[in-house]
């Protein structure tokens, strides 16, 4: 299992962009190990959708959660045991429709987790409905006349929400993606990584390859970041925003770890005795 694969049958479509994400994360983990992050400290969560199948394939511990809710699982893991490094895989419906509030609040809190958004701009697993990132006019089974909604801009949205590392990469550029993943996990705080992920029944790789472009220069200020997010087209990859502010679990209890530093029963009962005697 050294290549981080389980024995599970892979049921992504041949040519699916998720293979690229799968490869990149398997590349990233050993790099992170070299940098001192122990593999057993890395745990993953996934929502429900094609993206989430990575949970079965990746030989790492974690939670395969509910559609839209794994971000909360991730937060719960990190809060309970901050020693763990949490990588959160999400689809665009998972993380930006059903689960939008959780994603926004995890960013707001600057939870120290890495949120990987598999952006295929559809609800792939449920047969291709328009998603929060689908272009207006997109014809899926729930919008046969074309969707009526403008898509969100994940970069500016997450900057707005409070993410401290916001980047876009491409499932077809394993090197770039691996690098961004490593940076995302290393970053202390909420790292949001949008991955352009073609879904073959709905898009063409060629269109992606033609249009993908690198952000020339990493923006240095908030306004530069917003400008880049808004003015570059949505196939522009790179780090859009990077900043630092306190992470949630440290605000909550500095360096305490409720799981590894659990207070014993005896001490608890003594303190409860004290509590009651004051009542």
């Amino acid at each position: 299992m050294e290549d981080l694969k389980t024995g599970a049958e892979i049921t992504w479509c041949p040519g699916c962009g998720n293979f690229g994400i799968f490869t990149a994360i398997r590349n990233a983990i050993p790099i992170l190990e070299e940098k001192g992050i122990k593999r057993e400290n890395v745990v993953i969560t996934a929502g429900i959708g094609c993206h989430a199948k990575i949970f079965d394939y990746l030989n790492l511990s974690g939670i395969y959660g509910l559609h839209g809710r794994n971000c909360s699982n991730s937060e719960g893991i990190k809060i309970a045991n901050p020693d763990l490094k949490v990588i959160n895989f999400s689809g665009d419906a998972n993380g930006l429709a059903e689960g939008l509030t959780h994603t926004m609040f995890a960013a707001k809190r600057n939870q120290d987790i890495t949120f990987i958004l598999h952006n295929n701009s559809v609800y792939a697993l449920t047969t291709g409905q328009f998603s929060p990132l689908a272009e207006k006019g997109w014809k899926g089974p729930s919008t046969p006349r074309g969707s009526y909604e403008e898509p969100f801009n994940p970069m500016s949205l997450m900057i707005e929400a409070g993410a401290t590392f916001v980047a876009r990469s491409f499932a077809g550029d394993i090197k770039h993606l691996t690098d961004i993943m490593v940076q995302g996990v290393e970053h202390e705080g909420f790292s949001f990584i949008e991955v352009l992920q073609p879904a073959v029944p709905y898009h063409k790789w060629a269109e992606y390859r033609e249009r993908v472009e690198y952000l020339e220069k990493e923006p240095e200020t908030y306004f530069e970041a917003i400008k880049a997010a808004k003015e570059k087209h949505k196939f522009t990859i790179g780090v859009f925003y990077r900043t630092t502010r306190p992470v949630y679990h440290k605000e909550l209890y500095d360096d305490h770890n409720p799981v590894t530093q659990k207070i014993s029963r005896e001490i608890r009962l003594d303190k409860i005795r004290k509590f009651l005697s004051d009542k």
């Binding site: 511990s61 974690g62 794994n70 809060i79 309970a80 209890y253």
Partner: protein, 553 residues
Amino acid sequence: MNNDVFTFLVGGKAGEGVKKAGSVASHIFSSMGRHVFQMDDYMSLIRGGHNFSVISTAHRWISSHYMKANLVVNFDKRSCETHVNDIAENGIMIFNSDEQELENGIGIPLTSEAEKYPMKNLMFGVGAVAILAATIGFEKEEMNQIIKDEYPRGIENNIEFASTIYDIVYPDCGNKFFLEKGDRERPIITGNEAISLGAIAGGLDVYYGYPMTPASTILHTLAREAENFGLAVVHAESEIAVINMAIGSAFTGARAMVGTSGGGFALMTEGLSLAGITEAPVLIILSQRPGPATGVPTYTEQADLAFALSAGHGDFLRIVASPTTVREAYYLTAEMLDLVWKFQTPGILLTEKHLSESSMTVEIDLEKSKWAEPKMYKDGNYKRYQDKDDGISPMLFPPSKKIIKWNSYEHDELGITTEDAKKISFMHDKRNKKLETLIDYLKEQQIVKIIRGENNSNIFTYGSTYMSVLEALRCGSLNPTTVAPIYLNPLPIWELKEFKNQDNIVIEQSSTGQFTKLLKEKAGLNVRNTIKKYDGRPFDPLELSMKIKEVLE
């Protein structure tokens, strides 16, 4: 009227310190070594309206307030109007003579006296305490000490004001009531405090909540104690986040608990189902208020029972139990925390506003509380969902070199998704085994409260209504057998069998008789009559005793 009980009622606007005055009164009684029960009635608003607290105290264990009070102190007109019929025989009502004139009662110029002080709005409560002190024959020094301890802001003014009020009342009713002292002082806690402490005693590590009456004070209590006990206490963005965060934390081995009321619980049901299939130990406190929907937020009801029993889609085991007293809430919370970890399935502690927010004197043997410990993986191949005779797979937590996968899809023993027909039914069977294991375990525990009586009829009740029933029986000198199952799922039918064809009466707070249905349908009990109350208010023991009498005859 029970003359072993003394009842104090204080009423006024929200923001005038009514509840605080009530709890100071409670502490006065408990410091006299007496038992106390305090019920706070308040509206869903922040200032104004009408709030009141009723405190009944006795020389023996007391499990309900009485609505007929010996001493009623009203801060305003509305309070007088509301409580005009709440005065016991020989009781006295003290009213604010700046607001009105009344024939029956003793008027006191509360407002004009209070206005002499800068914090005038906070004086009424002090006044109520002074009135109580005078009528039960406290010396001024004793009273002053209490005021100092309980109202630490502006002590001198408070004492001066209390003294004035004391002097005004004393001539009319000073020393009017004699309250015998009891053996020793006992702590007074609310049900929600009992739940919070029980959870901590049981090993709680993390608590997630989103404010919702009547569960919010668990969040508040635990937030206050978080540092002291090394807990993580998080007010999240919604109840959906709450339950899913709790499951995330449980994955790391943290003992996780959440608390809410009906609406928030409804939002958690998908997560409950997730806990079912991932076999995540998570304890949910569901404190009921009248529904449906937003209902009546600050009042009490027992109409979420049926929902709690089968909440969440799919077949899985939900342990549901309801504490009958504040003291039991402490033990049961620790026990439920232990059970959800032993059985790796979600549990619901079902309670009501009446238990959550009422307070009473308790005696708790801390050492008796359970400590949540799962069955741990020892060695060999690790499989998260390993099949076992008892249905319970040993646990392991990250960080670990072994792979630990919790899965919301149906899965094999390793936790990998499956759509295979055989594996699907295999895993259903594996999880379903836990019910029998649990029943075997519970058969060894005392999980139904039975008090044998002399009547030919039995009274069935549960949750906080048990407290009302016990008090009603005592005050009505009635002696039927009372039966209160603490566990509602699995319902201990093995313990209820003997009553099956007897003359059974149910007392509960649901308009459709949900508990009655449960007893009839699951336990096959013959139920002759149900006494229901569903106006948001808990039973008054006197009224209830009359109803019981009627039914028993």
